[in-house]
């Protein structure tokens, strides 16, 4: 709810559970699992690309959440945002620790380092439809709209990095550009993205 202070007051269930976890409340950890495991599993499946690794990682993530709950600061973001960040970070750790130029099997059975799927093409269109627009969805569409303002290849690269954990090196080979070019592109893109998000 960053940037929307005062506009909406939404009960942050995950934040409440994290607070109980700092007091060593084991039931709160279980409640958090029941509520958030499908989302965390979704992140891990997308980033790690296979179920056995994702299930191992989910156990490690829950242990990190238990150990680090006190580091969550409700002033800086939502509880769900924080546990997703812990999860993404752990997945990146797994990816960076294993093979540098990996071939991950995707749920569809292909290889993500080779496939030519275009994540940006699958981004939802930021025009409100008939379906219910939850606050989370509206905020997502706002970020997506800013990403879509970037040149298309850069937008695709930002998506690939965030959703799949692709590194500069992997993006450079995928887009067939020199590593330094990819770095320069994305550093500029990140600065524009921040400006857009803070408008």
């Amino acid at each position: 709810m960053i940037g929307q202070k005062g506009l909406t007051i939404v009960a942050d269930d995950i934040a409440l559970l994290l607070n109980r976890i700092t007091r060593q409340d084991k039931n709160a950890l279980r409640a958090l699992y029941n509520q958030a495991a499908p989302k965390l599993m979704g992140i891990l499946m997308r980033m790690l690309g296979n179920r056995p690794d994702a299930e191992d990682a989910l156990q490690d993530v829950m242990i990190k959440i238990w150990n680090r709950a006190a580091a969550f600061d409700p002033e800086k973001g939502t509880g769900m945002g924080w546990i997703c960040a812990v999860t993404r970070n752990h997945a990146l750790d797994c990816l960076r620790a294993s093979r540098p130029a990996r071939l991950r099997t995707t749920p569809s059975g292909g290889y993500s380092a080779d496939d030519h799927d275009d994540p940006i093409a699958r981004l939802p269109d930021p025009t409100p439809g008939a379906e219910e627009q939850s606050l989370a969805r509206m905020e997502m569409l706002r970020v997506v709209a800013c990403i879509k303002e970037l040149p298309e290849d850069r937008a695709t690269a930002v998506q690939g990095a965030y959703l799949q954990g692709l590194s500069y090196q992997e993006l450079a080979s995928r887009f067939d550009v020199p590593l330094n070019t990819m770095r320069t592109w994305l550093r500029r893109a990140l600065i524009s993205l921040k400006e857009c998000l803070e408008k």
């Binding site: 960053i2 700092t22 007091r23 060593q24 084991k26 950890l29 279980r30 699992y33 495991a37 499908p38 989302k39 599993m41 979704g42 499946m45 997308r46 994702a54 989910l58 156990q59 242990i63 238990w66 150990n67 709950a69 006190a70 580091a71 800086k76 973001g77 945002g81 997703c84 960040a85 993404r88 990146l92 990816l95 960076r96 540098p100 989370a136 969805r137 905020e139 997502m140 706002r142 970020v143 990095a161 965030y162 959703l163 954990g165 692709l166 590194s167 500069y168 090196q169 993006l171 020199p178 590593l179 330094n180 070019t181 770095r183 320069t184 994305l186 550093r187 990140l190 600065i191 921040k194």
Partner: protein, 222 residues
Amino acid sequence: MSEQTPQTPIPDDDVLAAEYVLGLLDGDDWQAAKARCAVDGSFAQLVQAWEARLAPLNELYENADAPDLMPQIEAQLFPAPQQRSRKSWLWGLLSGTAVAAAIGVAILVFVPAAPPTGPVLQAELVATDRELVLQARFDVAATELRVTLRGQDAGADLDYELWVIDETEVPRSLGVVRAAELALPAELAQGQVLAISLEPAGGSPTGLPTGDVLAVAELSES
């Protein structure tokens, strides 16, 4: 690569934080940013801001079926008391940040040296602005860390505090370093990172680094 591209500018910390959050960094860059995030409060805040800024994108991850893994998770977190090793007891004590504040910081004192016989992990932490050099040698077989400290005093009402950061990324205090030479029992491993920070006299009141981090180095085999 040979084209006349201007030299890639050195990114400022905010861009580095964004690169770290997105997952663009590889290898040493990733490790370095991770270690910095654990010990450098101002960098960690930039990272947190980027995490919050991009968090709405988490909506794009589709939920996936998760089996009930809580029995395995609880077995790891809360082992039956009789199975607890000294190490897991120590972990339990040190890993909860909430209880960390209540832990008194050990004041490390001089202990006479005996030469190590087995493998040794080393790290050298150098803070150039203070001409401070902390050398750490960990004797794996004896589970003993020897520290020598050369350089300026911490200053009035201040102390140097030594930290280790492992895969949990939560800095764990090894204690306040006052003596020029000391030895202490420790559980350390290759690849862990040592850091030295400037803290109020007696050590960080929170159990996590609060002052400037002066130097960081990874433990590696000598």
